[in-house]
Protein backbone atom coordinates (compact mmCIF):
# COMPACT_ATOMS: atom_id res chain seq x y z
CA UNK A 1 0.00 0.00 0.00
CA UNK A 2 1.64 3.26 -1.14
CA UNK A 3 1.86 6.17 1.26
CA UNK A 4 -0.27 9.18 0.23
CA UNK A 5 1.76 12.15 -1.00
CA UNK A 6 0.57 14.22 1.98
CA UNK A 7 2.26 11.69 4.28
CA UNK A 8 5.47 11.82 2.23
CA UNK A 9 5.41 15.60 2.70
CA UNK A 10 4.81 15.21 6.46
CA UNK A 11 7.87 12.96 6.74
CA UNK A 12 9.98 15.44 4.73
CA UNK A 13 8.85 18.39 6.86
CA UNK A 14 9.73 16.48 10.03
CA UNK A 15 13.33 16.47 8.70
CA UNK A 16 13.11 20.19 7.78
CA UNK A 17 12.73 19.55 4.04
CA UNK A 18 10.04 21.74 2.43
CA UNK A 19 7.53 20.25 -0.01
CA UNK A 20 8.65 20.17 -3.63
CA UNK A 21 7.77 18.30 -6.77
CA UNK A 22 10.40 15.76 -5.72
CA UNK A 23 7.69 14.47 -3.38
CA UNK A 24 4.57 15.32 -5.34
CA UNK A 25 5.98 13.43 -8.36
CA UNK A 26 7.38 10.66 -6.16
CA UNK A 27 5.49 7.74 -7.65
CA UNK A 28 5.67 8.91 -11.26
CA UNK A 29 9.47 9.31 -11.22
CA UNK A 30 10.20 6.34 -8.96
CA UNK A 31 8.13 4.08 -11.21
CA UNK A 32 9.87 5.37 -14.34
CA UNK A 33 13.34 4.62 -12.89
CA UNK A 34 12.29 1.20 -11.68
CA UNK A 35 10.74 0.14 -15.00
CA UNK A 36 13.69 1.49 -17.02
CA UNK A 37 16.18 -0.46 -14.90
CA UNK A 38 14.15 -3.65 -15.27
CA UNK A 39 14.05 -3.12 -19.04
CA UNK A 40 17.84 -2.86 -18.96
CA UNK A 41 18.01 -6.27 -17.33
CA UNK A 42 18.05 -5.59 -13.58
CA UNK A 43 17.12 -8.71 -11.60
CA UNK A 44 16.72 -9.34 -7.83
CA UNK A 45 20.07 -11.10 -7.58
CA UNK A 46 21.98 -8.05 -8.87
CA UNK A 47 23.86 -5.63 -6.63
CA UNK A 48 22.76 -2.04 -7.14
CA UNK A 49 24.29 1.39 -6.44
CA UNK A 50 22.03 4.47 -6.25
CA UNK A 51 24.18 7.60 -6.68
CA UNK A 52 22.36 10.64 -5.23
CA UNK A 53 19.79 8.33 -3.64
CA UNK A 54 18.15 11.25 -1.78
CA UNK A 55 15.10 10.17 0.24
CA UNK A 56 15.09 6.74 -1.44
CA UNK A 57 12.45 7.40 -4.05
CA UNK A 58 13.95 4.59 -6.11
CA UNK A 59 15.05 2.62 -3.05
CA UNK A 60 11.43 2.47 -1.96
CA UNK A 61 10.71 0.43 -5.11
CA UNK A 62 14.04 -1.37 -5.44
CA UNK A 63 14.75 -2.55 -1.90
CA UNK A 64 11.69 -4.84 -1.82
CA UNK A 65 12.49 -6.02 -5.36
CA UNK A 66 16.18 -6.85 -4.86
CA UNK A 67 17.52 -9.69 -2.75
CA UNK A 68 18.37 -8.79 0.83
CA UNK A 69 21.33 -6.35 1.23
CA UNK A 70 21.67 -5.77 -2.54
CA UNK A 71 20.70 -2.07 -2.48
CA UNK A 72 23.38 0.57 -1.76
CA UNK A 73 22.67 4.29 -1.79
CA UNK A 74 24.87 7.36 -1.39
CA UNK A 75 23.92 11.02 -1.01
CA UNK A 76 25.52 14.31 0.01
CA UNK A 77 22.50 15.62 1.97
CA UNK A 78 21.93 13.86 5.29
CA UNK A 79 18.36 15.11 5.98
CA UNK A 80 17.25 13.58 2.65
CA UNK A 81 18.68 10.21 3.67
CA UNK A 82 16.86 10.45 6.99
CA UNK A 83 13.59 11.21 5.17
CA UNK A 84 14.15 8.07 3.08
CA UNK A 85 14.78 5.88 6.11
CA UNK A 86 11.59 7.14 7.76
CA UNK A 87 9.55 6.52 4.62
CA UNK A 88 10.80 2.93 4.39
CA UNK A 89 10.04 2.42 8.08
CA UNK A 90 6.47 3.69 7.68
CA UNK A 91 6.04 1.53 4.59
CA UNK A 92 7.04 -1.48 6.65
CA UNK A 93 9.96 -2.37 4.36
CA UNK A 94 12.14 -4.70 6.40
CA UNK A 95 14.76 -5.86 3.89
CA UNK A 96 18.30 -4.77 4.74
CA UNK A 97 19.99 -2.03 2.71
CA UNK A 98 23.02 0.26 3.05
CA UNK A 99 22.98 4.05 2.73
CA UNK A 100 26.01 6.30 3.06
CA UNK A 101 26.18 10.06 3.66
CA UNK A 102 29.05 11.17 1.43
CA UNK A 103 29.70 13.96 -1.07
CA UNK A 104 32.89 12.62 -2.67
CA UNK A 105 31.64 9.56 -4.54
CA UNK A 106 33.56 7.23 -2.20
CA UNK A 107 31.80 4.13 -3.50
CA UNK A 108 34.67 1.88 -2.44
CA UNK A 109 33.55 2.38 1.17
CA UNK A 110 30.75 -0.10 0.45
CA UNK A 111 33.35 -2.86 -0.12
CA UNK A 112 31.31 -4.44 -2.87
CA UNK A 113 31.10 -4.56 -6.66
CA UNK A 114 27.96 -3.58 -8.56
CA UNK A 115 26.00 -5.00 -11.50
CA UNK A 116 23.87 -1.88 -11.97
CA UNK A 117 24.00 1.75 -10.88
CA UNK A 118 21.98 4.91 -11.44
CA UNK A 119 22.46 8.66 -11.09
CA UNK A 120 19.00 10.11 -11.70
CA UNK A 121 18.99 13.93 -11.98
CA UNK A 122 22.53 14.00 -10.52
CA UNK A 123 24.60 14.97 -13.57
CA UNK A 124 21.83 17.44 -14.32
CA UNK A 125 23.19 19.60 -11.50
CA UNK A 126 26.88 18.63 -11.44
CA UNK A 127 29.92 20.43 -12.78
CA UNK A 128 31.98 18.62 -15.42
CA UNK A 129 34.77 17.91 -12.93
CA UNK A 130 32.26 16.28 -10.55
CA UNK A 131 30.85 14.10 -13.33
CA UNK A 132 34.34 12.93 -14.27
CA UNK A 133 35.14 12.26 -10.60
CA UNK A 134 31.98 10.16 -10.33
CA UNK A 135 32.77 8.07 -13.43
CA UNK A 136 36.36 7.43 -12.30
CA UNK A 137 35.02 6.32 -8.90
CA UNK A 138 32.42 4.11 -10.56
CA UNK A 139 35.08 2.43 -12.71
CA UNK A 140 36.63 1.04 -9.51
CA UNK A 141 33.42 -0.55 -8.21
CA UNK A 142 31.43 -1.58 -11.28
CA UNK A 143 31.69 -5.22 -12.40
CA UNK A 144 32.74 -6.02 -15.99
CA UNK A 145 29.74 -5.66 -18.37
CA UNK A 146 27.80 -3.75 -15.72
CA UNK A 147 25.43 -0.87 -16.54
CA UNK A 148 25.20 2.67 -15.19
CA UNK A 149 22.02 4.61 -16.06
CA UNK A 150 22.04 8.41 -15.84
CA UNK A 151 20.11 11.48 -16.92
CA UNK A 152 21.16 14.97 -17.95
CA UNK A 153 19.93 18.03 -19.78
CA UNK A 154 21.30 19.95 -22.74
CA UNK A 155 21.39 23.73 -22.68
CA UNK A 156 21.19 26.22 -25.52
CA UNK A 157 24.27 27.98 -24.20
CA UNK A 158 27.40 26.81 -22.39
CA UNK A 159 27.12 29.06 -19.33
CA UNK A 160 27.81 26.93 -16.22
CA UNK A 161 25.08 28.49 -14.08
CA UNK A 162 25.31 27.85 -10.34
CA UNK A 163 22.26 27.04 -8.25
CA UNK A 164 21.38 26.19 -4.64
CA UNK A 165 19.25 23.10 -4.20
CA UNK A 166 16.57 23.49 -1.51
CA UNK A 167 18.29 26.78 -0.62
CA UNK A 168 21.14 24.87 1.06
CA UNK A 169 23.26 22.77 -1.32
CA UNK A 170 25.34 24.65 -3.95
CA UNK A 171 25.39 23.03 -7.39
CA UNK A 172 26.42 23.79 -10.96
CA UNK A 173 24.71 23.03 -14.21
CA UNK A 174 27.22 21.27 -16.48
CA UNK A 175 26.33 23.54 -19.42
CA UNK A 176 26.25 20.80 -22.06
CA UNK A 177 25.17 21.75 -25.56
CA UNK A 178 25.43 18.17 -26.82
CA UNK A 179 26.41 14.70 -25.59
CA UNK A 180 30.04 14.83 -26.79
CA UNK A 181 31.33 15.37 -23.23
CA UNK A 182 30.00 11.93 -22.22
CA UNK A 183 31.47 10.34 -25.36
CA UNK A 184 34.84 11.77 -24.36
CA UNK A 185 34.49 10.59 -20.74
CA UNK A 186 33.64 7.09 -22.01
CA UNK A 187 36.63 7.05 -24.36
CA UNK A 188 38.99 8.23 -21.62
CA UNK A 189 37.76 5.54 -19.19
CA UNK A 190 37.54 2.79 -21.78
CA UNK A 191 33.81 2.24 -21.32
CA UNK A 192 30.93 2.59 -23.77
CA UNK A 193 28.30 5.33 -23.89
CA UNK A 194 24.91 5.34 -25.54
CA UNK A 195 21.82 7.50 -25.36
CA UNK A 196 18.68 5.49 -24.70
CA UNK A 197 15.95 6.46 -27.11
CA UNK A 198 12.32 5.61 -26.43
CA UNK A 199 12.73 5.99 -22.64
CA UNK A 200 10.92 9.28 -22.34
CA UNK A 201 11.88 10.76 -18.99
CA UNK A 202 8.91 12.33 -17.13
CA UNK A 203 10.71 15.69 -16.86
CA UNK A 204 12.18 15.57 -20.37
CA UNK A 205 15.78 14.77 -19.41
CA UNK A 206 18.06 12.83 -21.73
CA UNK A 207 18.56 9.21 -20.66
CA UNK A 208 21.87 7.44 -21.28
CA UNK A 209 24.04 4.57 -20.07
CA UNK A 210 27.70 3.85 -19.55
CA UNK A 211 28.56 0.17 -19.94
CA UNK A 212 31.68 -0.98 -18.10
Amino acid sequence: MALPISELIDIAVEENIPPSNYFTKWYELGEWQFETLKDLGLRPSHTFLDVGCGPLRLGYKLIPFLDNKNYYGIDAVLPLINVGKNILKREGITKEYTVLHNSDFEFDKFNTKFDYAIAASVFTYSGLDKIQQCVVALKKVMKPASTFLFTYILQKNDIPVGTIMDGIAPMRFPALRDSSFFEEVARRNNISFRVLTGKNHPTGQIVAVFEF
Binding site: S6, E7, I9, D10, V13, E14, N16, I17, P18, P19, S20, N21, F23, T24, K25, T163, I164, D166, G167, I168
Partner: protein, 272 residues
Protein backbone atom coordinates in the same frame (compact mmCIF):
# COMPACT_ATOMS: atom_id res chain seq x y z
CA UNK B 1 32.74 38.33 13.44
CA UNK B 2 29.80 37.90 11.07
CA UNK B 3 29.30 35.27 8.39
CA UNK B 4 26.81 34.78 5.57
CA UNK B 5 25.09 32.11 7.67
CA UNK B 6 24.39 34.69 10.37
CA UNK B 7 22.17 36.51 7.89
CA UNK B 8 20.17 33.38 7.03
CA UNK B 9 17.16 32.09 8.94
CA UNK B 10 18.17 29.63 11.66
CA UNK B 11 17.55 26.01 10.61
CA UNK B 12 15.65 25.13 13.81
CA UNK B 13 13.35 28.12 13.37
CA UNK B 14 12.78 27.14 9.73
CA UNK B 15 11.86 23.65 10.91
CA UNK B 16 9.30 25.04 13.36
CA UNK B 17 7.78 27.32 10.71
CA UNK B 18 7.68 24.58 8.05
CA UNK B 19 6.02 22.16 10.45
CA UNK B 20 3.38 24.72 11.36
CA UNK B 21 2.55 25.49 7.73
CA UNK B 22 3.08 22.30 5.74
CA UNK B 23 2.56 19.39 8.14
CA UNK B 24 -0.89 17.83 8.25
CA UNK B 25 -0.84 18.33 12.04
CA UNK B 26 0.18 22.01 11.66
CA UNK B 27 -2.20 24.93 11.17
CA UNK B 28 -1.35 25.79 7.58
CA UNK B 29 0.00 29.15 8.75
CA UNK B 30 2.63 30.75 10.98
CA UNK B 31 2.47 34.14 12.69
CA UNK B 32 5.65 36.19 13.13
CA UNK B 33 4.56 38.38 16.05
CA UNK B 34 5.80 42.00 15.91
CA UNK B 35 7.57 41.36 12.62
CA UNK B 36 7.88 45.12 12.32
CA UNK B 37 7.89 47.50 15.31
CA UNK B 38 5.10 49.89 16.20
CA UNK B 39 6.81 53.00 14.76
CA UNK B 40 7.21 51.25 11.40
CA UNK B 41 3.49 50.36 11.43
CA UNK B 42 2.52 53.97 12.16
CA UNK B 43 4.83 55.26 9.44
CA UNK B 44 3.46 52.84 6.84
CA UNK B 45 -0.17 53.46 7.86
CA UNK B 46 0.26 57.22 7.52
CA UNK B 47 2.14 57.07 4.25
CA UNK B 48 -0.08 54.64 2.40
CA UNK B 49 -3.48 55.83 3.63
CA UNK B 50 -2.68 59.40 2.65
CA UNK B 51 -1.14 58.71 -0.72
CA UNK B 52 -3.08 59.94 -3.74
CA UNK B 53 -2.93 56.89 -5.99
CA UNK B 54 -3.09 58.44 -9.44
CA UNK B 55 -0.71 61.27 -8.61
CA UNK B 56 2.20 58.88 -8.25
CA UNK B 57 0.98 55.68 -9.85
CA UNK B 58 -0.21 54.66 -13.27
CA UNK B 59 -3.81 53.44 -13.31
CA UNK B 60 -4.13 49.68 -12.93
CA UNK B 61 -6.36 48.18 -15.61
CA UNK B 62 -5.38 44.53 -15.52
CA UNK B 63 -2.55 42.05 -15.17
CA UNK B 64 -1.61 42.49 -18.82
CA UNK B 65 0.14 45.64 -17.58
CA UNK B 66 2.61 43.53 -15.58
CA UNK B 67 5.48 43.79 -18.01
CA UNK B 68 9.19 43.66 -17.15
CA UNK B 69 10.23 47.16 -16.17
CA UNK B 70 6.66 48.53 -16.00
CA UNK B 71 5.75 51.38 -13.68
CA UNK B 72 4.06 50.82 -10.34
CA UNK B 73 0.27 50.68 -10.67
CA UNK B 74 -2.69 51.57 -8.49
CA UNK B 75 -6.44 51.20 -8.49
CA UNK B 76 -9.09 52.94 -6.42
CA UNK B 77 -12.86 52.57 -6.49
CA UNK B 78 -15.74 54.84 -5.39
CA UNK B 79 -15.52 53.56 -1.82
CA UNK B 80 -11.83 54.49 -1.78
CA UNK B 81 -10.80 50.85 -1.63
CA UNK B 82 -7.26 51.17 -2.92
CA UNK B 83 -4.54 48.81 -4.09
CA UNK B 84 -0.95 49.80 -4.81
CA UNK B 85 1.03 47.37 -6.96
CA UNK B 86 4.76 47.88 -6.41
CA UNK B 87 7.64 46.17 -8.18
CA UNK B 88 11.18 45.85 -6.89
CA UNK B 89 12.68 47.24 -10.10
CA UNK B 90 11.15 50.69 -9.48
CA UNK B 91 12.49 53.40 -7.17
CA UNK B 92 10.35 52.99 -4.04
CA UNK B 93 7.72 55.46 -2.94
CA UNK B 94 8.65 54.39 0.60
CA UNK B 95 12.08 52.95 1.33
CA UNK B 96 10.87 51.33 4.55
CA UNK B 97 8.03 49.47 2.81
CA UNK B 98 10.43 48.42 0.05
CA UNK B 99 12.99 47.15 2.55
CA UNK B 100 10.45 45.31 4.73
CA UNK B 101 8.94 43.75 1.60
CA UNK B 102 12.32 42.54 0.44
CA UNK B 103 12.93 40.95 3.86
CA UNK B 104 9.52 39.22 3.75
CA UNK B 105 10.18 38.00 0.23
CA UNK B 106 13.52 36.51 1.29
CA UNK B 107 12.05 34.93 4.42
CA UNK B 108 9.30 33.31 2.36
CA UNK B 109 11.85 31.94 -0.10
CA UNK B 110 13.90 30.49 2.76
CA UNK B 111 10.87 28.70 4.16
CA UNK B 112 10.00 27.34 0.73
CA UNK B 113 13.58 26.11 0.28
CA UNK B 114 14.39 28.55 -2.50
CA UNK B 115 17.33 30.85 -3.01
CA UNK B 116 16.51 34.07 -1.12
CA UNK B 117 16.09 36.41 -4.08
CA UNK B 118 14.09 34.05 -6.30
CA UNK B 119 11.36 35.96 -8.15
CA UNK B 120 12.41 39.26 -6.66
CA UNK B 121 13.05 40.28 -10.27
CA UNK B 122 11.66 38.56 -13.38
CA UNK B 123 14.73 36.52 -14.40
CA UNK B 124 12.27 33.77 -15.30
CA UNK B 125 8.57 34.38 -15.87
CA UNK B 126 7.46 35.64 -12.46
CA UNK B 127 8.28 38.44 -10.03
CA UNK B 128 6.86 39.54 -6.71
CA UNK B 129 4.46 42.43 -6.60
CA UNK B 130 4.51 43.92 -3.09
CA UNK B 131 0.98 45.07 -2.83
CA UNK B 132 -0.52 47.49 -0.31
CA UNK B 133 -4.25 46.90 -0.01
CA UNK B 134 -6.59 49.31 1.77
CA UNK B 135 -10.18 48.10 2.07
CA UNK B 136 -12.50 50.79 3.43
CA UNK B 137 -15.95 49.41 2.60
CA UNK B 138 -16.68 46.23 0.71
CA UNK B 139 -19.00 43.31 1.39
CA UNK B 140 -16.82 40.68 -0.29
CA UNK B 141 -13.40 42.00 -1.32
CA UNK B 142 -11.95 38.49 -1.37
CA UNK B 143 -14.63 35.77 -1.46
CA UNK B 144 -13.58 32.35 -0.07
CA UNK B 145 -11.20 30.62 -2.47
CA UNK B 146 -7.96 28.62 -2.80
CA UNK B 147 -5.19 30.18 -4.87
CA UNK B 148 -4.16 26.99 -6.64
CA UNK B 149 -6.43 24.60 -8.54
CA UNK B 150 -5.79 20.94 -7.57
CA UNK B 151 -4.12 20.25 -10.94
CA UNK B 152 -1.39 22.81 -10.18
CA UNK B 153 -0.67 21.55 -6.68
CA UNK B 154 1.70 18.86 -7.93
CA UNK B 155 4.19 21.44 -9.09
CA UNK B 156 3.59 24.11 -6.45
CA UNK B 157 2.94 22.29 -3.18
CA UNK B 158 5.34 24.47 -1.20
CA UNK B 159 4.17 27.90 -2.37
CA UNK B 160 3.36 30.40 0.37
CA UNK B 161 1.62 33.74 0.69
CA UNK B 162 2.36 36.38 3.32
CA UNK B 163 0.09 39.02 4.81
CA UNK B 164 1.57 41.89 6.79
CA UNK B 165 -1.22 43.33 8.94
CA UNK B 166 -1.11 47.13 9.22
CA UNK B 167 -4.42 47.96 10.92
CA UNK B 168 -6.58 46.65 13.73
CA UNK B 169 -10.06 45.18 13.60
CA UNK B 170 -12.47 47.20 15.76
CA UNK B 171 -10.20 50.22 15.91
CA UNK B 172 -9.60 50.83 12.19
CA UNK B 173 -12.49 48.87 10.62
CA UNK B 174 -15.39 46.59 11.46
CA UNK B 175 -16.48 43.30 9.92
CA UNK B 176 -15.11 39.82 9.50
CA UNK B 177 -11.79 40.59 7.82
CA UNK B 178 -9.37 37.79 7.07
CA UNK B 179 -10.51 34.18 7.52
CA UNK B 180 -8.56 30.98 6.85
CA UNK B 181 -9.31 27.26 6.81
CA UNK B 182 -6.60 25.28 8.64
CA UNK B 183 -4.98 22.00 7.56
CA UNK B 184 -7.55 20.25 9.76
CA UNK B 185 -10.44 22.01 8.00
CA UNK B 186 -11.27 24.44 10.82
CA UNK B 187 -12.30 27.93 9.71
CA UNK B 188 -10.59 30.69 11.72
CA UNK B 189 -11.54 34.36 11.66
CA UNK B 190 -8.43 36.38 12.43
CA UNK B 191 -8.56 38.68 15.41
CA UNK B 192 -11.49 36.66 16.72
CA UNK B 193 -10.35 33.02 16.77
CA UNK B 194 -6.67 33.88 16.39
CA UNK B 195 -5.08 37.08 17.72
CA UNK B 196 -3.37 39.24 15.14
CA UNK B 197 -1.96 42.74 15.62
CA UNK B 198 -0.70 45.45 13.27
CA UNK B 199 2.94 44.63 12.57
CA UNK B 200 2.35 40.85 12.68
CA UNK B 201 3.31 38.85 9.62
CA UNK B 202 1.11 35.91 8.69
CA UNK B 203 2.73 33.29 6.42
CA UNK B 204 0.24 30.83 5.00
CA UNK B 205 -0.26 28.12 2.43
CA UNK B 206 -1.88 28.98 -0.90
CA UNK B 207 -3.61 25.61 -0.80
CA UNK B 208 -5.87 26.52 2.08
CA UNK B 209 -9.16 28.31 1.56
CA UNK B 210 -9.11 31.96 2.67
CA UNK B 211 -11.24 35.08 2.39
CA UNK B 212 -11.66 38.74 3.34
CA UNK B 213 -15.31 39.59 3.96
CA UNK B 214 -17.59 42.40 5.16
CA UNK B 215 -15.29 45.32 5.73
CA UNK B 216 -16.90 48.52 7.00
CA UNK B 217 -15.14 51.69 8.10
CA UNK B 218 -16.15 55.25 8.93
CA UNK B 219 -14.51 58.15 7.04
CA UNK B 220 -12.32 58.75 10.08
CA UNK B 221 -11.05 55.17 10.08
CA UNK B 222 -8.24 53.94 7.83
CA UNK B 223 -9.91 50.61 6.96
CA UNK B 224 -8.37 47.15 6.68
CA UNK B 225 -4.79 47.90 5.63
CA UNK B 226 -2.42 45.05 4.83
CA UNK B 227 0.34 44.03 2.49
CA UNK B 228 0.40 40.97 0.24
CA UNK B 229 3.24 39.60 -1.85
CA UNK B 230 1.86 37.72 -4.87
CA UNK B 231 4.22 36.43 -7.51
CA UNK B 232 2.85 37.68 -10.77
CA UNK B 233 3.48 36.46 -14.29
CA UNK B 234 5.63 39.19 -15.80
CA UNK B 235 5.45 39.40 -19.54
CA UNK B 236 8.24 40.52 -21.78
CA UNK B 237 7.82 43.88 -23.45
CA UNK B 238 7.24 42.29 -26.85
CA UNK B 239 4.06 40.64 -25.55
CA UNK B 240 2.78 43.97 -24.26
CA UNK B 241 3.39 45.61 -27.65
CA UNK B 242 1.31 42.88 -29.28
CA UNK B 243 -1.52 43.51 -26.81
CA UNK B 244 -1.36 47.22 -27.50
CA UNK B 245 -1.55 46.68 -31.25
CA UNK B 246 -4.47 44.29 -30.75
CA UNK B 247 -6.24 46.87 -28.55
CA UNK B 248 -5.70 49.65 -31.09
CA UNK B 249 -7.01 47.41 -33.87
CA UNK B 250 -10.10 46.61 -31.78
CA UNK B 251 -10.68 50.26 -30.87
CA UNK B 252 -10.26 51.32 -34.47
CA UNK B 253 -12.59 48.59 -35.72
CA UNK B 254 -15.29 49.69 -33.28
CA UNK B 255 -15.06 53.41 -34.14
CA UNK B 256 -17.35 55.03 -36.74
CA UNK B 257 -14.51 55.69 -39.18
CA UNK B 258 -13.05 52.26 -38.59
CA UNK B 259 -16.30 50.41 -39.10
CA UNK B 260 -17.50 52.40 -42.12
CA UNK B 261 -14.27 53.27 -43.87
CA UNK B 262 -11.15 51.45 -42.69
CA UNK B 263 -12.60 47.97 -42.17
CA UNK B 264 -14.23 47.76 -45.66
CA UNK B 265 -10.92 48.87 -47.21
CA UNK B 266 -8.99 46.34 -45.11
CA UNK B 267 -11.39 43.53 -46.05
CA UNK B 268 -11.30 44.47 -49.73
CA UNK B 269 -7.51 44.48 -49.71
CA UNK B 270 -7.31 41.19 -47.85
CA UNK B 271 -9.74 39.58 -50.32
CA UNK B 272 -7.68 40.61 -53.35
Amino acid sequence: MITYSDLCVDAELLKEIRYSIYHSKGNGYYICKNFIPRDYVVHMQKLWTNLEPYRYYKKYLGKDQFVAGCKNLASVDQEKNTTFHNFFWNPPIDELTHSVSMAIHMLRNSIEGNIPYRELLPFASRATNYRVVITKNHSAPVPPHKDLPPAMLKDHAGLLMCTLFLSKKGLDYKGEGFAFVTNQGKRLVFDEDECIEPGDLLIWSHQNEHSVMNIHSEPSQIGFVRMLFPREIIRKKKYFDKIKVANYKKMLGESYIGENLLLPIYRALRGR
